[in-house]
Amino acid sequence: MTVTVTTTINGDAEEFVCEADETLLDVLRDHLGLTGSKEGCATGDCGACSVMLDGRLVCSCLVLAAEAEGRQVETIEGMARGRELHPLQQKFLDAAALQCGICTPGFLVAAKALLERNPDPSETEVRYWLAGNLCRCTGYDKIVRAVLETAADMKSADMKSAGMKSAGMRSA
């Protein structure tokens, strides 16, 4: 049985036809050319296929494509704005917080979800949040440091812009 799905992927309206039993991961990869999400296990154990579905972090190998109907899907391909990398991507790049790279998209999507929920996580919180993403190379340590440093950078950037705003308000 085929189904037609109307959804939003990385902010763009998208319509696709798929089999009822196809996973969101397979549709992203095989139908839509979004191969940044990877299949490491297809059983929800490794996190390499992590995407956001209506703001919730999910393993796209455990989601049917049809479940994306009317919802917002965010994948690694939507993380940068044009050529401007997300601060996490930039930090992973600068710190070389990756090796073979197959787990990297999943880690980045999961880390972004963490910082959106908890902009100032402790090291333990980072380690437990990212416990659903497996790396075998393994770059765990650099990944944790990259996430913590990004959180600190984003916080100080926020404080700066908040400071500028309040300064502007005072002068007005």
């Binding site: 089999e19 296990c41 073979c100 765990y140 340590d141």
Partner: protein
């Protein structure tokens, strides 16, 4: 074409402009944006999907497959079985050399192990192929399998690892034990382990007549190409393998695996491009594993804690139909001084897929047992385990008397111990507790891994526009080949990294050799270094022979290449740019090739090993037996470091593999079926972030003038060695309980 061998003094260049810098990954941008294209990310037009059906019995034969049911499923295009698979030109069971492994390519109905491919379904979609494979509903005639180390008849293999002798005896072990003031005997067990790269093996294969193109991860493209050429009876030049990024390898992508070839056969059968990606569960069979081991160590020491004898015996397994014998005992060859050393191996044959090189083959399980035993010996002598290791420091390779080409192990011990705070360690076990009442233990292990080299070739070009190109079919499986080799390339041709186009990851480039044995940077780097030297030499010849050049007549004084210019060695103010030299000579470019290989004479004279010292702290719940590693410090000396940023990642990776070996990973075999009962990432435990503390590594400087012209030893595997022992020893120190079975799980600790 000039070829310059490695033994040649690298007088033409000066290091430092690129080599040694902590550059970030050149492939990083592609990887953080999801744009890096791995094998399974390729979807060429007209692609069909293939799924393998694998055996659920370990020994027997397939007596029925419901091909009709599978063919009747909508979307299924073809079912490939022994009855219709394309004929092969070469026998997949032939073994012309130890690096050719026997493959299961649907040659008969025989089943040799659980997880063996027995048919393949090709369909328009992955879902249809998957369903088709289920509908095959195979029936078997099965025989009882041999599953564990006690199931088979023991024999001494003719060779272990890739061709090392199975037995080595130096001195008289029995006499050494008889004369010892203290002696111990202990047996350690390690389980079957599976590589589990995060990227399962995948192949996208396309035939155009008798030309074959495939996207597939490979740690050794030239070898894979030769194997395919022999199997399909076509010239190697007709085969293009693209492997720009591997999603991890760890040995299981070193040699072409059966399923990868099946994908190629399926593409030939259906006449369309075919993608075959293994599932996670299908990695537990046809792509290799690390054999279980049972290792018996006998050690004797005199009254001052100096070893009088060291015997290391390993029992391990291979498959019933092929040869790979984990050389675990050889970890004892070069580490501790002893007047008598014997390393022995015996094997049994099991109904399993053939074991394979897996990150630190031999050294990983061998070091786990040796480092545990050395700790037990230190305890018997009443000595601090680090002090015991220092008393038995090998000044020369104990079994041969050869000097080490370099050995900064003392510095590793000293710097690691200082960082860790080892001097505060109480000698007695079970004497430390933290503020929550957890038992705390500190352990040390020595790391060692041989500095190996294979063979590789590279091509270097310097162009009239002042830029250069360096080409080598090298493999980046995460270790950082795209980055580190490009750094070597830039220095080799005397150019800034941004002026050098570095091409790699494809089999139509010069043979980059094997990304394995921690030898890839040394080997491929040496080839690049040689090619660069050769092309610079050609440029220098042009300049020195031209009286219009400021370098005319430099002759014996020679020239140095730097920043796109050649400088007279004896007068650096006299120089000329590459562009000017080529312009005047009327040449668009000069090119040369170079080779990298071990220097056999130096190998004869010197023992070549990388070393390190790993210090671990664990905390153990005294009631529940739960173990957590809370600190891990590794100090390593491995010759010249090309890119410290990449190298630290490799050390972290190795050390985390050590944590995994010590505490987490094991395949649990079902003794009735011969199948692993935990063939997934839920049951086959590897550490996650939450299992680990922040790690520390120390890069201990070491110059080695003998290993190769660049002084590189290799860093990919050494981190596992030492770490396993350090953790096991820390667990003992925390609890007073010595667990001799890996992984150290809470039931074993409490039991």
């Amino acid at each position: 074409m000039p070829e310059i061998t490695l033994t040649q003094d690298p007088v033409h260049l000066r290091h430092g402009s690129n080599i040694g810098r902590p550059l970030t990954r050149r492939d990083g941008l592609l990887k953080v944006t999801g744009a890096a294209r791995y094998a399974a990310d390729n979807n060429p037009k007209g692609l069909l999907h293939a799924v393998v059906a694998v055996s659920t019995v370990a020994r027997g034969r397939v007596v029925a497959l419901d091909v009709e049911a599978a063919m009747a499923h909508p979307g299924v295009v073809e079912v490939m079985t022994p009855a219709n698979r394309p004929a092969l030109a070469g026998d997949p069971d032939a073994k012309p050399n130890p690096l050719v492994f026997r493959l299961d390519l649907l040659q008969s109905d025989r089943v040799r192990y659980a997880g063996q491919p027995i048919a393949l379904v090709v369909a328009e979609t992955l879902e249809a192929a998957t369903e088709g494979a289920v509908l095959l509903a195979p029936r078997y005639e099965s025989e009882p399998p041999a599953v564990g180390l006690d199931d088979g008849e023991r024999f001494v293999p003719t060779a272990v690892g890739p061709g090392a002798p199975a037995e080595l005896r130096h001195g008289d072990v029995e006499a050494g034990l008889a004369a010892a003031a203290q002696a111990i005997e202990a047996t350690y067990e390690t389980p079957p382990q599976y590589h589990n790269p995060m990227e399962p093996h995948a192949v996208v294969a396309r035939w155009d007549g008798d030309r074959l193109t495939l996207d597939t991860p490979s740690q050794a493209m030239a070898m894979a190409r030769l194997r395919l050429a022999a199997l399909f009876g076509i010239p190697p030049e007709n085969i293009l393998i693209r492997s720009p990024f591997l999603g991890g390898g760890f040995g299981c992508k070193g040699l072409l695996s059966g399923p990868q070839v099946l994908g190629v056969m399926a593409a030939r059968l259906v006449g369309r491009p075919v993608k075959l990606a293994l599932t996670r569960a299908q990695l537990y069979g046809p792509v290799g594993h690390r054999s279980p081991t049972r290792q018996r160590l006998r050690l004797g020491a005199d009254g001052e804690g100096r070893l009088t004898a060291l015997e290391h015996h390993t029992l391990m397994s291979s498959s019933r139909f092929d040869e790979f014998f984990e050389p675990a005992s050889n970890a004892s060859h070069a580490l501790y001084a002893s007047p008598a050393i014997a390393t022995l191996h015996e094997a049994v044959r099991l109904d399993c897929g053939t074991p394979m090189f897996m990150r630190a083959p031999g050294e990983a399980p061998g070091s786990a047992a040796l480092e545990s035993a050395v700790d037990e010996m230190a305890e018997a002598c009443g000595l601090d385990p680090l002090e015991f290791r220092l008393r038995n420091y090998a000044e020369v390779e104990p079994t041969t008397g050869r000097p080490f080409s370099s050995k900064a192990l003392r510095e590793c011990y000293a710097r690691g111990a200082e960082r860790f705070g080892w001097e505060r360690r109480p000698l007695a076990p079970r004497s430390l507790r933290d503020e929550h009442g957890l038992l705390v233990g500190w352990g040390v292990g020595t790391a060692i891994f041989p500095a190996l080299m294979f063979e590789a070739e590279a091509r270097a070009v310097i162009r009239r526009d002042g830029g250069g190109t360096v080409e080598i079919g090298a493999c980046d499986m995460g270790q950082g080949a795209w980055t580190a080799l490009a750094q070597i390339a830039a220095d080799a041709v005397g150019l800034d990294g941004e002026r050098v186009e570095f091409r790699s990851g494809s089999s139509d480039l010069p043979d980059g050799g094997i990304a394995g044995g921690s030898a890839h940077t040394a080997t491929a780097g040496s080839a690049i270094h040689s090619a660069g030297a050769a092309v610079v030499a050609r440029l220098a010849e042009l300049a020195m022979a031209d009286e219009r050049s400021p370098l005319f007549g430099a002759g014996n004084a020679g020239v140095v290449a730097r920043d796109g210019r050649l400088h007279r060695r004896d007068d650096e103010s006299r120089s000329e740019g590459y562009a000017e030299i080529l312009e005047r000579a009327g040449l668009a470019e000069v090119e040369a090739r170079g080779k990298g290989a071990m220097d056999a004479a130096a190998q004869q004279r010197y023992a070549m090993q990388a070393h390190g010292a790993v210090f671990a702290e664990v905390k153990v719940d005294p009631d529940l037996g739960q173990v957590r590693v809370t600190r891990l410090v590794g100090a390593f000396a491995a010759g010249r470091i090309i890119n410290p940023r990449m190298v630290v990642s490799q050390y972290y990776g190795g050390m985390i593999w050590g944590v995994s070996f010590a505490l987490h990973e094991q395949a649990v075999m079902d003794r009735r079926s011969g199948r692993p009962m935990n063939a997934d990432l839920a049951g086959y435990h590897i550490p996650v972030n939450a299992d680990l503390p922040a790690l520390e590594t120390i890069l201990v400087e070491e110059e080695d003038p003998h290993v190769n012209a660049l002084g590189i030893k290799g860093v990919g595997e050494i981190g596992i060695t030492g770490t396993v022992g350090a953790i096991a020893n820390a667990v003992w120190h925390a609890t007073g309980v010595r667990v001799r079975q890996f992984p150290i799980t809470l039931d074993r600790l409490l039991g």
